[in-house]
Structures are given as structure tokens and as C-alpha cells.
Subunit: 494 residues, 2 copies
């Protein structure tokens, strides 16, 4: 029954478009789910059975199922197969979003493009309550606002042509120099100021790389579990996503499917998001060698390297790279003030001119007065001193949270709770035993006015990870001291 | 010889990827040009001959050639066929950018993806000298900077959660209300505040629409001649571009190829960029009917409707639309201050939730303090009074420029020079006889310290338009009075 439906849809697709078989099957399955012919919770036949029924190779079936899992249409339960996910949007039956005539205003899903539907519904950021332990939120109460306002007022008096960014679309030149000086000293990035391109943040940096370096349909390797924002940027630019498992040393290229040749490899080596793993030096060399073997580009997202609490800092991947294949990116919005919306991308020299031109044409960059104020802020040393002050604050909060979580770790089970990723950044990962329903636990915790994220929510294809992603950047010390023991108690009683 | 080369490449492509024939031919021709096998200035066989040699339908050949023309690889000379354009970038021969192993740093073009190469080299904005008559540049000397600084300082004291835009990613709510009030009164847009999404400007608004409403390979109709920024946004999102000719009433849907079913139609009806044509009311109705017949979305870019100098204002297309298929967009950067980087997109109600979610996930919007300052600036009436003052200034400059150009129009030839598009906005179009080399004329003018743009540089497929796009927004009155007669003299003596 299902196989007949799929075969009919595939033969229609095969006639209409010229699509490879795994894409035809992907589309046929997706439409069956959108039309409700495959309902939420329904179990899919095994890939072996499906391959036999449809007379397709098993690889073809697996490719289609993997893509649907990555996009969130399908979910797997350990040991019991693959199911239609609960959050598949439903379209009006019988009408494909791509053709047919206007019939008045129909359901949203019906009017969006296929990619639009995926972009609007899959891997969406959760509603963000800003409360103790929300990850990804920092404390800006110590930001030197009066000084900032003075700098900003000064530079809002900017006149032509400085106010525009037409002739050198890498951004405001003094800011590019200031960023280059900072990265050279503190992050061992090897660069000249001209290689720095100022963007509105990591999303823009990622999209620029995806578009200029990869074509529609090319493969990007991403960490599993992954930072959703990056997954979304790659979906939006039409890349095929190949999740590669992360272990305690970071992404492990040995577990990747080497037939899925990467054009790009996206990594967060300093503090893997969300597990917090720091990529070891041998792993860094292995990753660069893998990239070289595939002639792939490496995108290094160094999103929170500013705060390191123990152990020696590892130099950036970019700093180890000998053949110019690493793009290094970071942002000021997470460190200084979210309203800034300023990030940076370091581009290998031979590609700088192309990136600058495309960045101008695609993004029409601007915000020059803010860029100028930030340049002066950094040059005058305020940035590094703000970081130094903040690091002390965060170190106290981190210690308080670790102390509070201590009782949770006293579990005698061999796979008992543990903490990863607390050496750096503003979040840690509390790992829990494999069977834990971490989503339910996070919901229970939310009922007590605390926000943590379930680790399983960041997983693309793996099913073995459970835990909580806990931020300590936002809440002041007194709050951490009050809420830390409550969090520990809620975890222990679950 | 050429046909053998193309057939070999196409058969390789046909085996490797699953591409429709016209895409195979497109790729084969493009690679021949990139590898230098088809050199700059070389003449292509006619589409009829090529179709015969390659045993393809003529439609297939024409589709491939059209796409290459739109992307700037090919150029046509009136009456003498199609040539390889002078600005095709060259790759190292024998190595495709998509495969092969690292061989050290090679030429840029060699390392970029196919779309990256197109994005970095085709339809790029020219270097922008800010001097008298540069189009697209306004005068911000009257911007009430002290007031603005006061508002901005106030709102940079913003705290959580207002500082973030996580829970309602349409932007800062009071700004959305202020924009909605303004558009309802001044632009007859029918909307509620919730339909307004704050973006960083028109590029971001266009990409959001292209991604959510159209899939890779879908067709967008654009005006010919066109606004480059929009063409680039559609190229970047993988759309196939179908240029539709503009006449004195704006885009003319009757001249479109209806077999190229549009998913999107992009228009600048208030003041077509660059010709300045104002879309007539019957044409507006015709366009909406065409969109309805194809079940296409209309993207209305109202980039400079703030300044209208004569005749009654026409209501927006959105205001005429009865079935919710128009997306309306504008920007504050062109009107108030380029450093702002704030624009807006009005989304039909049923799609608001999807657009807000995708906008948050893809673009991580921000700049909340600036959004808040702008909201108060508009609410307090400063925006409309700033527009009123500026309109008077610009009206004087416009009149001075028109007076100066008067002698140019005294040409007795039937196809002599004329002016279009001076009723609105900050530029006008000086139309010149068909044979004029407007690029050479613009270069001659640049030698005298004035910047105008050749009309032919905005053309996608047409070859009949010649003229100069002249801005009067930037230079103060005294400059216009000094430089206007010089411009007229340079045109007359050419």
C-alpha cells in the first residue's frame, strides 16, 4: 500500500522533473507525510524491506531516510525503528504547493515552497525565556554603556564617504585592523587586516561561505549534535547535510561516510556546541588532513573562545592550517552586546577580493557608525579589559554551578551523569544516562522557572546522547547560588 | 569543433549528474568559456545552427543562451549575433572547481563554486564615487543628529528581554506599529502591525521571500532593465531569471514568455529602477491578474516612494491586491541614514508566522536599541517632518537639474533625447538615441568629476535602451547649479 503510493508519486516526479532516485523517494515520502497519508507516529518499514518493495538499492533508501531524519520529518526510537515525527506540518490534501490555481487563502504550508516549509518548521530555535541557565545568553550589565554612548555619538557624526561601505566592502578599515590585531594575539590566527570581512554575525558569515564555496546539492559535514543555526544556514543554501558524530575530542572524521565527499566541513573546535568538547590537537591535525584529502574547506566557528577557565588555550584550527583552507569566524554580539550585530569572517588571501565583492552585492553591508565606535572601543583597550572583568564574574558563576551540581554526579552507575565542556565558554553539558527522557526533564525544570535545553534536541541522526545544556552566563551570582541546588534536586529526583 | 566539445562535456555531465538538457548545455558552454576554449569576443553560432549541430530543440538552446546572457557571460550586439563577453573570468585549464585534489593555492576562480563565481563576478555594483549625480545616494546633512543621538542613548540602556528579539522575531513591536501606521496612511498599504517584519534592508527582504516562496530552479520574472541588487538576490537563491521588458507604463506582462511560469514577479511599480517609469493603473491590474493566473507571488519594492514631485500619488500594488499575493518592502537606509540598515517587509497574514520563524532562524535579527530609537523617532513625528523638509530640498535640486538638461532635449530627431522618471524619487533617466554608446559617454563624464550610470548597464536581455541614470539626491543646490550645465554640455558634445 505504502510502496504503491510511493512508486506512483516517484514515477510522476521522474516524469516531471529530472531528479536522482533518492531525491524522488525523499519527495514521495515527504509528500505522503505532508498530505497525512503517512500519519504522525506511524512506523516506517525497515530500509531493507522498503528497498525490496520499491526495487531500489538500499543505499538509495537510506539516503532518503537520512535526509528526512536530519530535517526532522522522521524520528528513530532506539531498537524499534523509524517513525513519522509528531511535528510534521499538514497541507490541505490533494494540492501540491508547487502548482494548482489560487483557491483563496489556504493553509500556510500549502503556499510555501518546499525549502520554505523546511526552513520555517524544522530545527527552529525554541522560544527563549531569559531566566537562569538559559544557554547562549550572556550578562551585559557590566558593559561600559556611558563610554559606548560617547563613542557612538562621536561616530554618528560620520560623513560621506566613510558612512558608506561601497568602495571597500570588507567593512570599516580601522575595525578590520583592530579585529586582526586581536585575533593574531589572542587566538593565534595568522592574518592580515585585509582578510577580515565584517558581517552582521555568524549566520551571515556561514551563508557567504556556503554560497561562494559550495553549489546547490554539494555536501557539508556538520557535527552531530549540532548548532542549529549552522544547520539552517546550510539548508537555506541548498547543501546536503552529512552529520558526523562528535566524541570527547570533538568531531570524529573516522566515523564519516567518505563516499559523501564534503565540499565544506563545519566545526566548533574550541568548545563544541552543544557538548562542549574541546577538539584535541591530534584530532585537529586529523581533521585538516581529512579536509585536504577531500579538497574541502573548513569553516571554524569560534563562537565563545573569549572565556577559558582552565587548561592552556588551544590555538585556532586556522593557526594550524598550512594550505589556506580554513575560514575562521566569530561574533561580538555574544561577548559585548547583542544589539551590536557585528561579527567577522577571516578569508584565505586568494579569495578575499571575491568575498568582498559578493558580500557587498548580496548583503549591502552598513552600520558604519557602530563599526567605527567598536573599532575605537577595541583600539583603546576597552574590549580586552571588559573581557577580563567578565571572565572573573563568569568564573565565579561557573564554580557555583559546578558545586551545586556535585550531588548529581554521585551516581554509582557506570554510565552515570557527568559534566562536559565546563572549561570554556558560558555553558556546560550535564550528560545523563542513555535512557533518560531529557526533553521531559527539561520541561519539568521549566515549570520551576529555570531554562535548560535537552541535549537530544541538538542531535541530527544519533540516538545515544542524553543530557542538559546549562548556561551560566546570564544569571547573577545570587541567582546561581539560589537556583543551582534546585536544578540539582530536580535532576536527582527525575 | 565547438559542437563536439559541447557534446562531450554534455555527455559527461549527463552521466555524472541528473541535469535537464538546457542546464547541461548551459554548463558545457560556461565551462568552455571559463577554460578559455571559447574566448572573449568570439561569436557563437546562431541558436538555429547550434540546435541542429547538437541535435537539440531550439528552445533548449535558447534557454541556455538566455541564462548565460542574463548572467553576463554572453553579450549580444544588435544585428550581429551573440558573443562571449569580455568579463568572463578564466580558470586554470583542465581543472574543474568541483573536483580534483589540492594543488596549492590556485587562481580564485578555480576555488569558488559555480554559483560563487557568478555571484562574485556578474552584475557587481560599480565602484561608487560619491560625487554629483551619483544615483542611489541621498543627502543626510539635514538629518537631526542631536535628537537621534539622544534617542539612541536612551534606548541603548535597554535591558533583557527587550534587547533580544527571540520571542517575536518580527522586530521591536513599537517599530512595527509605527511602520504600519506610516504605510497605512501614506502608501495605502492595507495591513496590521503584526504583518510587518523588520529586516536589515531590501536584500534581506528579497532573500527571505525567494527562499520561503520559491524553490531552487523556480522562475522569477524581473524587470528589464533591472535593479542589480534584486537580480543578485535571486541568483543567490537559485532562481531562474526571466527578464520581462519595461515600457513607459512599467513592466509589460504581455511581452513575457508564459511558458516560463513565474513563481515570483519582482517589480518597482512606483518608480521603476532605473528607467523611472511609473506603473499605470491598468498595468497594475493587468500585473495582478497575470500573477493570479500563474498563482505567482508579487514582490513590490517601493524603494523611494517617499519623494513624489508631481501628479497624484498612486497607491501601492499591495493596496489593489484582493487575494493576498503581494509582499511589500521598503527601507529606511535610503531615506534617513545609510548607517541605519533597517528595512521592512509586509507579509500577507496567513504567512506571517512562517516568515517570522524563518527570519529568526536564518538571520538572527537584532539591533534592538536602534529599532527602538527609530520607533520613537517616527512616533514623535520626526520622520514625516524630516521627509517634508527633504522633499523641498530635493524638489529644488530636481528643478535645477531639469532646467540644466533642457538644451539636451532640443534635438529635432524623432528618437531624440528625452527624460523619464523625474516625477518621483531621487534620480531621473535621460534617454538617448538607440545608437549612443552610453557606457563611453558615462566614462567621459566621469573624467569631469561627475558620476552617472549608463542605462544599458542595467539591461538583462534587451539591446534597445540607451541613456544615463542621473541622481540629484546627494549634491547640494550650489553643486547642481554648477555641474548641471557641464553635464548637459558633455552630453550634447558627445
Amino acid at each position: 500500500m505504502l510502496s504503491e503510493l510511493l512508486l506512483a508519486e516517484m514515477s510522476r516526479l521522474g516524469a516531471e522533473d529530472v531528479l536522482p532516485l533518492h531525491r524522488q523517494l525523499y519527495e514521495a515520502l515527504r509528500r505522503a507525510m505532508l498530505d497525512g497519508k503517512l500519519g504522525a507516529g506511524e512506523r516506517l518499514p525497515s530500509s531493507r524491506d522498503l528497498a525490496q518493495d520499491l526495487r531500489l538499492s538500499r543505499n538509495t533508501v537510506v539516503a532518503a531516510i537520512n535526509q528526512l531524519s536530519v530535517e526532522g520529518y522522521l524520528a528513530s526510537r532506539v531498537g524499534s525503528g523509524t517513525y513519522v515525527s509528531d511535528n510534521v506540518p499538514r497541507t490541505t490534501p490533494g494540492r501540491s504547493p508547487r502548482n494548482g490555481h489560487a483557491q483563496g487563502v489556504t493553509a500556510q504550508a500549502d503556499r510555501l515552497s518546499s525549502r520554505g516549509l523546511a526552513l520555517a518548521t524544522q530545527f527552529s530555535a525554541a522560544e527563549l525565556e531569559v531566566q537562569p541557565f538559559t544557554p547562549g545568553i550572556a550578562d551585559f550589565s557590566a558593559f561600559p554603556l556611558t563610554l559606548w554612548q560617547r563613542l557612538q555619538n562621536k561616530h554618528w557624526r560620520m560623513t560621506y564617504p566613510d558612512m558608506l561601505d561601497y568602495n571597500d566592502s570588507g567593512g570599516y578599515a580601522p575595525l578590520r585592523r583592530a579585529v586582526a590585531d586581536y585575533l593574531r594575539v589572542f587566538r593565534s590566527v595568522q592574518l592580515e587586516a585585509d582578510q577580515v570581512i565584517i558581517t552582521t554575525g555568524t549566520q551571515q558569515s556561514l551563508e557567504l561561505c556556503a554560497r561562494l564555496l559550495a553549489d546547490h546539492g554539494d555536501t557539508v559535514w556538520v557535527e552531530d549534535p549540532a548548532y542549529w543555526g549552522a544547520v539552517k544556514a546550510f539548508m537555506a543554501t541548498g547543501l546536503a547535510i552529512h552529520p558526523v558524530a562528535v566524541d570527547e575530542q570533538g568531531i570524529n572524521p573516522s566515523t564519516a561516510d567518505n563516499t559523501r565527499t564534503p565540499r565544506l566541513i563545519y566545526v566548533t573546535p574550541s568548545h563544541q556546541y552543544p557538548t562542549g568538547a574541546v577538539m584535541s590537537l591530534p584530532r585537529r591535525h586529523q581533521l585538516l588532513a581529512t579536509a585536504r584529502a577531500h579538497d574541502a574547506w573548513v569553516l571554524e566557528d569560534d563562537y565563545d573562545s573569549e572565556y577559558r577557565f582552565s587548561g592552556p588555550p588551544l590555538s585556532s584550527l586556522e593557526g594550524l592550517d598550512t594550505d589556506g583552507r580554513v575560514f575562521y569566524m566569530g561574533t561580538f554580539s555574544k561577548v559585548l552586546y547583542p544589539g551590536l550585530k557585528i561579527g567577522y569572517l577571516v578569508v584565505p588571501k586568494p579569495l578575499v577580493a571575491a568575498f568582498k565583492q559578493a558580500h557587498y552585492d548580496l548583503n549591502r553591508p552598513g552600520q558604519m557608525p557602530v563599526q567605527a565606535a567598536l573599532a575605537e572601543f577595541i583600539e583603546m583597550g576597552h574590549f580586552t579589559s571588559a573581557l577580563r572583568r567578565a571572565r572573573q564574574n563568569y568564573a565565579e558563576r561557573r564554580k557555583s554551578l559546578l558545586d551545586a551540581l556535585e550531588p548529581v554526579l554521585h551516581d554509582s552507575a557506570p554510565e552515570g551523569p557527568s559534566i562536559s565542556g565546563a572549561e570554556q565558554g558560558l555553558h556546560l553539558c550535564l550528560r545523563l544516562p542513555g535512557g533518560t527522557d531529557d526533553r521531559a526533564l527539561a520541561q519539568r525544570i521549566a515549570q520551576h522557572g529555570l531554562t535548560v535545553r535537552p541535549l537530544s534536541a541538538y542531535c541530527l541522526q544519533r540516538h545515544d546522547l542524553r543530557g542538559l545544556v546549562v548556561g551560566y552566563g546570564y544569571a547573577p551570582m545570587a541567582e546561581i547560588e539560589r537556583c543551582g541546588p534546585l536544578l540539582a534536586q530536580l535532576v536527582n529526583n527525575f
